[in-house]
Protein backbone atom coordinates (compact mmCIF):
# COMPACT_ATOMS: atom_id res chain seq x y z
CA UNK A 1 0.00 0.00 0.00
CA UNK A 2 1.50 3.29 -1.09
CA UNK A 3 2.04 5.91 1.59
CA UNK A 4 3.31 8.74 -0.59
CA UNK A 5 2.94 10.02 -4.14
CA UNK A 6 6.11 8.49 -5.52
CA UNK A 7 5.24 5.04 -4.27
CA UNK A 8 1.72 5.39 -5.62
CA UNK A 9 3.02 6.42 -9.05
CA UNK A 10 5.37 3.43 -9.11
CA UNK A 11 2.49 1.11 -8.19
CA UNK A 12 0.32 2.67 -10.88
CA UNK A 13 3.10 2.22 -13.42
CA UNK A 14 3.46 -1.44 -12.39
CA UNK A 15 -0.33 -1.97 -12.59
CA UNK A 16 -0.45 -0.45 -16.07
CA UNK A 17 2.52 -2.50 -17.21
CA UNK A 18 0.85 -5.63 -15.86
CA UNK A 19 -2.28 -4.73 -17.84
CA UNK A 20 -0.12 -4.50 -20.97
CA UNK A 21 -0.42 -0.73 -21.34
CA UNK A 22 1.52 1.09 -23.97
CA UNK A 23 4.47 3.13 -22.58
CA UNK A 24 2.94 6.31 -23.96
CA UNK A 25 -0.33 5.60 -22.16
CA UNK A 26 1.63 4.91 -18.96
CA UNK A 27 3.27 8.31 -19.27
CA UNK A 28 -0.09 10.08 -19.66
CA UNK A 29 -1.62 8.19 -16.75
CA UNK A 30 1.30 9.06 -14.49
CA UNK A 31 1.02 12.72 -15.50
CA UNK A 32 -2.69 12.79 -14.57
CA UNK A 33 -2.20 10.95 -11.28
CA UNK A 34 0.67 13.16 -10.25
CA UNK A 35 -1.22 16.34 -11.09
CA UNK A 36 -4.22 15.21 -9.06
CA UNK A 37 -2.42 13.79 -6.06
CA UNK A 38 -0.11 16.79 -5.73
CA UNK A 39 -3.05 19.19 -5.90
CA UNK A 40 -5.06 17.19 -3.40
CA UNK A 41 -2.15 16.87 -0.96
CA UNK A 42 -1.38 20.59 -1.23
CA UNK A 43 -5.02 21.53 -0.55
CA UNK A 44 -5.64 22.67 3.00
CA UNK A 45 -1.99 23.21 3.87
CA UNK A 46 0.98 21.06 2.93
CA UNK A 47 2.18 18.46 5.40
CA UNK A 48 5.73 17.29 5.91
CA UNK A 49 6.44 14.09 4.07
CA UNK A 50 6.94 11.02 6.24
CA UNK A 51 4.86 12.34 9.12
CA UNK A 52 1.89 10.37 10.42
CA UNK A 53 -0.47 13.20 9.44
CA UNK A 54 0.87 13.12 5.89
CA UNK A 55 0.40 9.39 5.58
CA UNK A 56 -3.10 9.57 7.02
CA UNK A 57 -4.07 12.29 4.56
CA UNK A 58 -2.45 10.42 1.70
CA UNK A 59 -4.43 7.28 2.54
CA UNK A 60 -7.69 9.27 2.23
CA UNK A 61 -6.53 10.97 -0.95
CA UNK A 62 -5.44 7.70 -2.58
CA UNK A 63 -8.71 6.08 -1.51
CA UNK A 64 -10.63 8.82 -3.31
CA UNK A 65 -8.45 8.58 -6.41
CA UNK A 66 -8.79 4.81 -6.63
CA UNK A 67 -6.33 1.96 -6.24
CA UNK A 68 -3.61 1.70 -8.89
CA UNK A 69 -5.42 -1.35 -10.28
CA UNK A 70 -8.74 0.50 -10.61
CA UNK A 71 -7.11 3.49 -12.25
CA UNK A 72 -5.10 1.26 -14.60
CA UNK A 73 -8.29 -0.55 -15.61
CA UNK A 74 -9.97 2.79 -16.35
CA UNK A 75 -7.10 3.86 -18.62
CA UNK A 76 -7.06 0.53 -20.41
CA UNK A 77 -10.77 0.87 -21.02
CA UNK A 78 -10.76 4.31 -22.64
CA UNK A 79 -7.44 4.24 -24.45
CA UNK A 80 -7.92 5.21 -28.05
CA UNK A 81 -5.02 5.27 -30.46
CA UNK A 82 -6.53 7.72 -32.89
CA UNK A 83 -9.83 8.63 -34.42
CA UNK A 84 -9.48 6.86 -37.76
CA UNK A 85 -9.94 3.16 -38.29
CA UNK A 86 -6.84 1.34 -37.17
CA UNK A 87 -5.02 -0.30 -40.04
CA UNK A 88 -5.45 -4.03 -40.24
CA UNK A 89 -1.85 -4.65 -39.24
CA UNK A 90 -2.24 -2.91 -35.96
CA UNK A 91 -3.07 -5.19 -33.09
CA UNK A 92 -5.76 -3.29 -31.25
CA UNK A 93 -4.24 -4.16 -27.89
CA UNK A 94 -5.97 -1.27 -26.24
CA UNK A 95 -9.41 -2.23 -27.41
CA UNK A 96 -8.98 -5.86 -26.47
CA UNK A 97 -9.13 -4.97 -22.81
CA UNK A 98 -12.70 -4.87 -21.54
CA UNK A 99 -13.73 -1.29 -22.25
CA UNK A 100 -15.23 -0.78 -18.83
CA UNK A 101 -15.17 2.96 -19.20
CA UNK A 102 -15.86 3.41 -22.86
CA UNK A 103 -18.28 6.31 -22.73
CA UNK A 104 -21.39 4.81 -24.20
CA UNK A 105 -24.26 3.17 -22.41
CA UNK A 106 -24.70 -0.51 -23.14
CA UNK A 107 -23.22 -0.41 -26.60
CA UNK A 108 -19.65 -0.14 -25.39
CA UNK A 109 -19.02 -3.68 -24.26
CA UNK A 110 -20.36 -5.46 -27.34
CA UNK A 111 -18.56 -3.08 -29.69
CA UNK A 112 -15.28 -3.48 -27.91
CA UNK A 113 -15.70 -7.23 -27.75
CA UNK A 114 -16.23 -7.57 -31.48
CA UNK A 115 -13.13 -5.60 -32.35
CA UNK A 116 -10.91 -8.60 -31.72
CA UNK A 117 -12.85 -11.00 -33.92
CA UNK A 118 -12.81 -10.62 -37.69
CA UNK A 119 -16.06 -9.52 -39.25
CA UNK A 120 -17.48 -10.80 -42.52
CA UNK A 121 -16.98 -8.32 -45.37
CA UNK A 122 -19.50 -5.56 -45.26
CA UNK A 123 -20.67 -6.58 -41.84
CA UNK A 124 -19.98 -3.44 -39.92
CA UNK A 125 -23.02 -3.89 -37.75
CA UNK A 126 -21.88 -5.34 -34.46
CA UNK A 127 -23.84 -8.54 -34.09
CA UNK A 128 -23.73 -8.77 -30.32
CA UNK A 129 -26.37 -6.84 -28.46
CA UNK A 130 -27.56 -8.64 -25.37
CA UNK A 131 -29.04 -5.42 -24.05
CA UNK A 132 -32.07 -4.23 -25.98
CA UNK A 133 -30.89 -0.68 -25.31
CA UNK A 134 -28.05 -1.13 -27.76
CA UNK A 135 -30.38 -1.98 -30.66
CA UNK A 136 -31.49 0.91 -32.79
CA UNK A 137 -35.11 -0.11 -33.46
CA UNK A 138 -36.22 -0.76 -29.87
CA UNK A 139 -39.47 1.24 -29.57
CA UNK A 140 -38.60 3.40 -26.58
CA UNK A 141 -35.11 3.97 -27.74
CA UNK A 142 -35.63 5.11 -31.31
CA UNK A 143 -32.68 7.13 -32.43
CA UNK A 144 -30.23 5.64 -29.97
CA UNK A 145 -27.30 6.18 -30.04
CA UNK A 146 -28.06 9.81 -30.89
CA UNK A 147 -27.64 10.11 -34.65
CA UNK A 148 -25.93 13.42 -34.88
CA UNK A 149 -24.40 14.27 -38.24
CA UNK A 150 -21.23 16.21 -37.72
CA UNK A 151 -21.23 15.63 -34.00
CA UNK A 152 -18.52 13.22 -32.98
CA UNK A 153 -19.58 10.32 -30.85
CA UNK A 154 -17.64 9.48 -27.71
CA UNK A 155 -14.19 8.33 -28.69
CA UNK A 156 -14.70 4.90 -27.21
CA UNK A 157 -17.69 4.29 -29.45
CA UNK A 158 -15.86 5.57 -32.50
CA UNK A 159 -12.92 3.34 -31.81
CA UNK A 160 -15.20 0.36 -31.25
CA UNK A 161 -17.01 0.93 -34.52
CA UNK A 162 -13.79 1.67 -36.36
CA UNK A 163 -12.13 -1.44 -35.00
CA UNK A 164 -15.12 -3.58 -35.95
CA UNK A 165 -15.12 -2.12 -39.46
CA UNK A 166 -11.36 -2.05 -39.86
CA UNK A 167 -10.91 -5.69 -38.88
CA UNK A 168 -13.10 -6.67 -41.81
CA UNK A 169 -11.87 -7.81 -45.20
CA UNK A 170 -8.20 -8.55 -45.57
CA UNK A 171 -8.51 -12.10 -46.81
CA UNK A 172 -8.65 -11.82 -50.61
CA UNK A 173 -5.21 -11.86 -52.27
CA UNK A 174 -6.33 -9.02 -54.56
CA UNK A 175 -6.86 -6.83 -51.52
CA UNK A 176 -3.62 -7.94 -49.95
CA UNK A 177 -1.66 -6.78 -52.98
CA UNK A 178 -3.55 -3.68 -54.08
CA UNK A 179 -5.16 -2.79 -50.77
CA UNK A 180 -2.09 -0.68 -49.93
CA UNK A 181 -3.28 2.02 -52.30
CA UNK A 182 -6.50 2.39 -50.31
CA UNK A 183 -4.67 2.32 -46.97
CA UNK A 184 -4.63 5.85 -45.54
CA UNK A 185 -1.77 4.89 -43.23
CA UNK A 186 0.49 4.21 -46.21
CA UNK A 187 -0.24 7.62 -47.75
CA UNK A 188 0.43 9.24 -44.39
CA UNK A 189 3.69 7.31 -44.11
CA UNK A 190 4.61 8.67 -47.52
CA UNK A 191 4.03 12.20 -46.23
CA UNK A 192 6.17 11.39 -43.21
CA UNK A 193 8.98 10.08 -45.44
CA UNK A 194 8.97 13.22 -47.54
CA UNK A 195 8.83 15.47 -44.46
CA UNK A 196 11.61 13.52 -42.79
CA UNK A 197 14.23 15.11 -45.02
CA UNK A 198 13.33 18.51 -43.56
CA UNK A 199 12.81 17.35 -39.98
CA UNK A 200 15.95 15.20 -40.11
CA UNK A 201 18.10 18.10 -41.23
CA UNK A 202 16.51 20.42 -38.66
CA UNK A 203 16.95 17.99 -35.74
CA UNK A 204 20.53 17.23 -36.67
CA UNK A 205 21.41 20.89 -37.06
CA UNK A 206 19.80 21.84 -33.76
CA UNK A 207 21.62 19.14 -31.81
CA UNK A 208 24.99 19.63 -33.47
CA UNK A 209 25.03 23.43 -33.41
CA UNK A 210 23.48 23.49 -29.93
CA UNK A 211 25.99 21.08 -28.44
CA UNK A 212 29.01 22.56 -30.18
CA UNK A 213 28.09 26.13 -29.27
CA UNK A 214 27.37 25.18 -25.67
CA UNK A 215 30.51 22.99 -25.56
CA UNK A 216 32.77 25.75 -26.79
CA UNK A 217 31.21 28.22 -24.37
CA UNK A 218 31.67 25.81 -21.48
CA UNK A 219 34.92 27.54 -20.57
CA UNK A 220 32.81 30.60 -19.86
CA UNK A 221 29.95 30.15 -17.44
CA UNK A 222 27.39 30.89 -20.18
CA UNK A 223 28.02 27.41 -21.64
CA UNK A 224 26.26 25.66 -18.76
CA UNK A 225 22.83 27.30 -19.14
CA UNK A 226 23.20 26.94 -22.89
CA UNK A 227 23.82 23.21 -22.50
CA UNK A 228 20.75 22.89 -20.27
CA UNK A 229 18.72 24.82 -22.83
CA UNK A 230 19.81 22.30 -25.47
CA UNK A 231 18.62 19.46 -23.25
CA UNK A 232 15.29 21.22 -22.80
CA UNK A 233 14.94 21.72 -26.55
CA UNK A 234 15.76 18.06 -27.17
CA UNK A 235 12.99 17.01 -24.80
CA UNK A 236 10.54 19.41 -26.43
CA UNK A 237 11.41 18.15 -29.90
CA UNK A 238 11.02 14.56 -28.70
CA UNK A 239 7.42 15.42 -27.81
CA UNK A 240 6.87 17.17 -31.15
CA UNK A 241 8.33 14.29 -33.14
CA UNK A 242 6.16 11.94 -31.08
CA UNK A 243 3.05 13.87 -32.13
CA UNK A 244 4.18 13.76 -35.76
CA UNK A 245 4.82 10.01 -35.54
CA UNK A 246 1.42 9.40 -33.94
CA UNK A 247 -0.47 11.46 -36.52
CA UNK A 248 1.36 10.14 -39.57
CA UNK A 249 2.51 6.66 -38.57
CA UNK A 250 -0.44 5.82 -36.35
CA UNK A 251 1.33 4.56 -33.25
CA UNK A 252 0.43 5.81 -29.81
CA UNK A 253 2.97 8.37 -28.54
CA UNK A 254 2.90 10.61 -25.43
CA UNK A 255 0.57 13.56 -25.54
CA UNK A 256 2.19 15.32 -22.64
CA UNK A 257 5.69 16.30 -21.74
CA UNK A 258 7.48 13.84 -19.54
CA UNK A 259 7.17 15.06 -15.98
CA UNK A 260 10.09 15.01 -13.63
CA UNK A 261 9.40 13.10 -10.42
CA UNK A 262 7.56 15.26 -7.88
CA UNK A 263 9.17 17.25 -5.11
CA UNK A 264 12.40 18.01 -6.92
CA UNK A 265 14.30 21.24 -6.63
CA UNK A 266 15.89 23.03 -9.57
CA UNK A 267 19.25 21.25 -9.35
CA UNK A 268 17.65 17.87 -8.72
CA UNK A 269 15.58 18.37 -11.86
CA UNK A 270 18.69 19.08 -13.88
CA UNK A 271 20.37 16.02 -12.42
CA UNK A 272 17.29 14.01 -13.36
CA UNK A 273 17.44 15.30 -16.93
CA UNK A 274 21.10 14.35 -17.14
CA UNK A 275 20.56 10.89 -15.68
CA UNK A 276 17.37 10.25 -17.67
CA UNK A 277 18.22 7.84 -20.47
CA UNK A 278 15.35 9.34 -22.46
CA UNK A 279 17.24 12.62 -22.96
CA UNK A 280 20.19 10.85 -24.54
CA UNK A 281 18.11 8.40 -26.54
CA UNK A 282 16.10 11.32 -27.92
CA UNK A 283 19.30 13.11 -28.83
CA UNK A 284 20.64 10.02 -30.61
CA UNK A 285 17.33 9.73 -32.44
CA UNK A 286 17.58 13.33 -33.60
CA UNK A 287 21.08 12.74 -34.95
CA UNK A 288 20.06 9.50 -36.68
CA UNK A 289 17.12 11.26 -38.30
CA UNK A 290 19.48 12.98 -40.74
CA UNK A 291 20.66 9.80 -42.55
CA UNK A 292 17.25 8.19 -42.07
CA UNK A 293 15.43 11.23 -43.38
CA UNK A 294 17.65 11.41 -46.45
CA UNK A 295 17.14 7.69 -47.06
CA UNK A 296 13.37 7.84 -46.65
CA UNK A 297 13.08 10.88 -48.87
CA UNK A 298 15.25 9.32 -51.57
CA UNK A 299 13.38 6.02 -51.50
CA UNK A 300 10.02 7.76 -51.69
CA UNK A 301 10.92 10.20 -54.42
CA UNK A 302 12.99 7.94 -56.69
CA UNK A 303 10.80 4.86 -56.25
CA UNK A 304 7.58 6.68 -56.98
CA UNK A 305 8.93 8.72 -59.86
CA UNK A 306 10.36 5.61 -61.56
CA UNK A 307 7.03 3.83 -61.10
CA UNK A 308 5.00 6.75 -62.41
CA UNK A 309 7.37 7.29 -65.33
CA UNK A 310 7.01 3.65 -66.41
CA UNK A 311 3.23 3.65 -66.07
CA UNK A 312 3.01 6.98 -67.86
CA UNK A 313 4.99 5.55 -70.82
CA UNK A 314 1.59 4.62 -72.24
CA UNK A 315 0.84 8.33 -72.55
CA UNK A 316 4.00 9.44 -74.27
CA UNK A 317 4.14 6.20 -76.30
CA UNK A 318 0.70 7.04 -77.63
CA UNK A 319 2.00 10.31 -79.02
CA UNK A 320 4.99 8.50 -80.55
CA UNK A 321 7.36 10.53 -78.39
CA UNK A 322 9.04 7.22 -77.74
CA UNK A 323 10.41 7.27 -81.27
CA UNK A 324 12.65 10.16 -80.38
CA UNK A 325 14.43 8.16 -77.71
CA UNK A 326 17.34 7.26 -79.88
CA UNK A 327 21.06 6.96 -79.48
CA UNK A 328 23.24 7.72 -82.45
CA UNK A 329 26.52 5.86 -82.23
CA UNK A 330 29.05 5.73 -85.09
CA UNK A 331 26.40 7.03 -87.44
CA UNK A 332 23.98 4.22 -86.58
CA UNK A 333 20.68 5.11 -84.88
CA UNK A 334 19.73 2.81 -82.03
CA UNK A 335 16.23 2.94 -80.60
CA UNK A 336 16.60 2.24 -76.94
CA UNK A 337 12.88 2.48 -76.45
CA UNK A 338 10.55 0.66 -78.81
CA UNK A 339 6.78 0.92 -78.96
CA UNK A 340 6.40 -2.77 -78.17
CA UNK A 341 8.05 -2.09 -74.81
CA UNK A 342 5.18 0.09 -73.66
CA UNK A 343 2.92 -2.71 -72.30
CA UNK A 344 5.92 -4.22 -70.52
CA UNK A 345 6.86 -0.82 -69.11
CA UNK A 346 3.33 -0.33 -67.79
CA UNK A 347 3.34 -3.76 -66.15
CA UNK A 348 6.78 -3.17 -64.64
CA UNK A 349 5.64 0.29 -63.50
CA UNK A 350 2.61 -1.15 -61.75
CA UNK A 351 4.80 -3.76 -60.06
CA UNK A 352 7.25 -1.04 -58.98
CA UNK A 353 4.43 1.11 -57.58
CA UNK A 354 2.81 -1.78 -55.71
CA UNK A 355 6.20 -2.82 -54.38
CA UNK A 356 6.93 0.77 -53.35
CA UNK A 357 3.70 1.08 -51.43
CA UNK A 358 4.36 -2.16 -49.60
CA UNK A 359 7.87 -0.97 -48.84
CA UNK A 360 6.48 2.34 -47.55
CA UNK A 361 4.08 0.44 -45.33
CA UNK A 362 6.95 -1.58 -43.83
CA UNK A 363 9.14 1.48 -43.42
CA UNK A 364 6.27 3.18 -41.60
CA UNK A 365 5.89 0.31 -39.17
CA UNK A 366 9.62 -0.05 -38.69
CA UNK A 367 10.17 3.64 -38.10
CA UNK A 368 7.22 3.85 -35.71
CA UNK A 369 8.71 1.03 -33.62
CA UNK A 370 12.12 2.71 -33.75
CA UNK A 371 10.71 6.11 -32.72
CA UNK A 372 8.84 4.52 -29.86
CA UNK A 373 11.90 2.67 -28.63
CA UNK A 374 14.02 5.83 -28.72
CA UNK A 375 11.56 8.50 -27.62
CA UNK A 376 9.30 6.85 -25.04
CA UNK A 377 11.51 4.29 -23.40
CA UNK A 378 10.49 4.50 -19.75
CA UNK A 379 13.15 5.02 -17.15
CA UNK A 380 13.19 2.38 -14.47
Amino acid sequence: MANDINTYLRELQAALAAAGADPALVQDALFDAEEHLQAEMAAGGALGRGTAAYEKKFATVAEGYGTPEEVAAAYMGTAVVRKEAPAAHETPSVTEAPPVWAPSVGAAAPLGATSATPQPPGGTQPPVAPLPVAEGPAPHMAGWPPPAPGVPMPAGVQAGIAAAAGAAPTSSPWRQVFGVFADVTVWKTLIYMILSLATGIAYFTIVVTGLSTAGSMLVLIIGIPMFLAVLGIVRAIALFEGRLVEILLGIRMPRRPRATPPGMGFFQRIAFWLKDGRTWASMAYMLLMLPLGITYFTIAVTGLSVGFWLVASIVWGWFRWADYHTIIYNGVTYYWWHSWMIPIAVIVGVIVLVGMFHLIKWIGRGHAAFAKAMLVRLAK
Binding site: G64, A74, V100, P103, H140, M141, P146, P152
Partner: protein, 134 residues
Protein backbone atom coordinates in the same frame (compact mmCIF):
# COMPACT_ATOMS: atom_id res chain seq x y z
CA UNK B 1 -11.07 -16.06 11.95
CA UNK B 2 -14.26 -14.16 12.61
CA UNK B 3 -13.79 -12.19 9.43
CA UNK B 4 -13.42 -15.31 7.31
CA UNK B 5 -16.49 -16.84 8.92
CA UNK B 6 -18.55 -13.73 8.18
CA UNK B 7 -17.50 -13.74 4.52
CA UNK B 8 -18.43 -17.38 4.02
CA UNK B 9 -21.74 -16.85 5.86
CA UNK B 10 -22.52 -13.94 3.57
CA UNK B 11 -21.67 -15.98 0.53
CA UNK B 12 -24.02 -18.72 1.60
CA UNK B 13 -27.04 -16.45 1.84
CA UNK B 14 -25.99 -14.72 -1.36
CA UNK B 15 -25.03 -11.30 0.04
CA UNK B 16 -21.50 -11.50 -1.41
CA UNK B 17 -22.95 -12.12 -4.84
CA UNK B 18 -25.29 -9.17 -4.44
CA UNK B 19 -22.47 -6.87 -3.31
CA UNK B 20 -20.35 -7.85 -6.29
CA UNK B 21 -23.29 -7.34 -8.62
CA UNK B 22 -23.86 -3.85 -7.21
CA UNK B 23 -20.24 -2.93 -7.84
CA UNK B 24 -20.35 -4.36 -11.36
CA UNK B 25 -23.63 -2.60 -12.09
CA UNK B 26 -22.31 0.70 -10.76
CA UNK B 27 -19.26 0.36 -12.97
CA UNK B 28 -21.25 -0.43 -16.09
CA UNK B 29 -23.76 2.29 -15.35
CA UNK B 30 -21.06 4.89 -14.85
CA UNK B 31 -19.37 4.34 -18.18
CA UNK B 32 -21.54 6.71 -20.17
CA UNK B 33 -22.85 8.82 -17.35
CA UNK B 34 -19.41 10.04 -16.33
CA UNK B 35 -18.76 11.37 -19.84
CA UNK B 36 -22.11 13.14 -19.74
CA UNK B 37 -21.44 14.64 -16.31
CA UNK B 38 -17.95 15.82 -17.27
CA UNK B 39 -19.15 17.37 -20.49
CA UNK B 40 -22.09 19.07 -18.74
CA UNK B 41 -19.91 20.43 -15.94
CA UNK B 42 -17.39 21.86 -18.36
CA UNK B 43 -20.14 23.29 -20.56
CA UNK B 44 -21.48 25.20 -17.55
CA UNK B 45 -18.06 26.30 -16.33
CA UNK B 46 -17.06 29.85 -17.12
CA UNK B 47 -13.37 29.14 -17.45
CA UNK B 48 -11.24 26.08 -18.25
CA UNK B 49 -10.87 23.72 -15.29
CA UNK B 50 -8.11 21.26 -14.45
CA UNK B 51 -8.67 17.67 -13.38
CA UNK B 52 -8.53 18.20 -9.65
CA UNK B 53 -10.96 21.15 -9.81
CA UNK B 54 -13.31 19.08 -11.93
CA UNK B 55 -13.24 16.23 -9.40
CA UNK B 56 -13.88 18.65 -6.53
CA UNK B 57 -16.75 20.34 -8.38
CA UNK B 58 -18.40 17.02 -9.11
CA UNK B 59 -18.06 15.99 -5.46
CA UNK B 60 -20.40 18.86 -4.61
CA UNK B 61 -23.34 17.58 -6.64
CA UNK B 62 -26.05 15.30 -5.25
CA UNK B 63 -24.71 12.58 -3.01
CA UNK B 64 -21.18 13.05 -4.33
CA UNK B 65 -19.14 11.46 -7.08
CA UNK B 66 -20.20 7.80 -7.46
CA UNK B 67 -16.84 6.76 -8.96
CA UNK B 68 -13.18 7.05 -8.05
CA UNK B 69 -11.61 10.37 -9.01
CA UNK B 70 -8.78 8.63 -10.81
CA UNK B 71 -11.19 7.20 -13.33
CA UNK B 72 -12.29 10.68 -14.45
CA UNK B 73 -8.97 11.47 -16.09
CA UNK B 74 -9.01 8.78 -18.78
CA UNK B 75 -12.59 9.82 -19.65
CA UNK B 76 -11.48 13.45 -19.96
CA UNK B 77 -8.72 12.36 -22.27
CA UNK B 78 -11.05 10.18 -24.28
CA UNK B 79 -13.47 13.10 -24.70
CA UNK B 80 -10.57 15.24 -25.80
CA UNK B 81 -9.40 12.76 -28.41
CA UNK B 82 -13.02 12.59 -29.59
CA UNK B 83 -12.91 16.33 -30.22
CA UNK B 84 -15.52 17.27 -27.62
CA UNK B 85 -13.04 18.82 -25.22
CA UNK B 86 -9.88 20.75 -25.74
CA UNK B 87 -7.10 21.28 -23.27
CA UNK B 88 -3.90 23.09 -22.62
CA UNK B 89 -1.12 22.55 -20.16
CA UNK B 90 -0.10 25.42 -17.95
CA UNK B 91 2.63 25.39 -15.37
CA UNK B 92 1.51 25.71 -11.76
CA UNK B 93 3.30 27.50 -8.96
CA UNK B 94 3.15 24.66 -6.48
CA UNK B 95 3.42 21.41 -8.36
CA UNK B 96 3.56 19.73 -11.73
CA UNK B 97 1.97 21.43 -14.76
CA UNK B 98 -1.81 21.25 -14.93
CA UNK B 99 -4.01 20.38 -17.86
CA UNK B 100 -6.96 22.75 -18.23
CA UNK B 101 -9.99 21.43 -20.10
CA UNK B 102 -12.74 23.33 -21.87
CA UNK B 103 -15.62 22.35 -24.16
CA UNK B 104 -15.28 22.68 -27.93
CA UNK B 105 -18.06 23.84 -30.24
CA UNK B 106 -18.70 20.20 -31.17
CA UNK B 107 -18.85 19.40 -27.47
CA UNK B 108 -21.57 22.00 -27.00
CA UNK B 109 -23.56 20.53 -29.88
CA UNK B 110 -23.02 17.03 -28.54
CA UNK B 111 -24.13 17.86 -25.00
CA UNK B 112 -27.58 18.96 -26.22
CA UNK B 113 -28.07 15.64 -28.02
CA UNK B 114 -26.56 13.61 -25.21
CA UNK B 115 -28.93 15.32 -22.84
CA UNK B 116 -31.94 14.29 -24.94
CA UNK B 117 -30.63 10.74 -25.10
CA UNK B 118 -30.14 10.74 -21.37
CA UNK B 119 -33.64 12.03 -20.67
CA UNK B 120 -35.16 9.42 -23.00
CA UNK B 121 -33.13 6.70 -21.31
CA UNK B 122 -34.02 7.91 -17.84
CA UNK B 123 -37.73 8.09 -18.61
CA UNK B 124 -37.62 4.64 -20.16
CA UNK B 125 -35.80 3.10 -17.20
CA UNK B 126 -38.04 4.85 -14.67
CA UNK B 127 -41.11 3.63 -16.50
CA UNK B 128 -39.83 0.05 -16.56
CA UNK B 129 -38.87 0.17 -12.88
CA UNK B 130 -42.32 1.44 -11.92
CA UNK B 131 -44.11 -0.87 -14.33
CA UNK B 132 -45.87 1.85 -16.32
CA UNK B 133 -46.48 1.06 -19.96
CA UNK B 134 -46.32 3.96 -22.40
Amino acid sequence: MTAIQTTSDRDEDGTGVVDASVRKFQKELSSGIVSLALLALLAHAEKPLYGYQIAKELEGFGGGLPVKQGTLYPVLRSLESGGLLTSEVEPSVTGPPRRYYSVTEEGRQAIALWREAWIRTREFVDAVLEGHRG
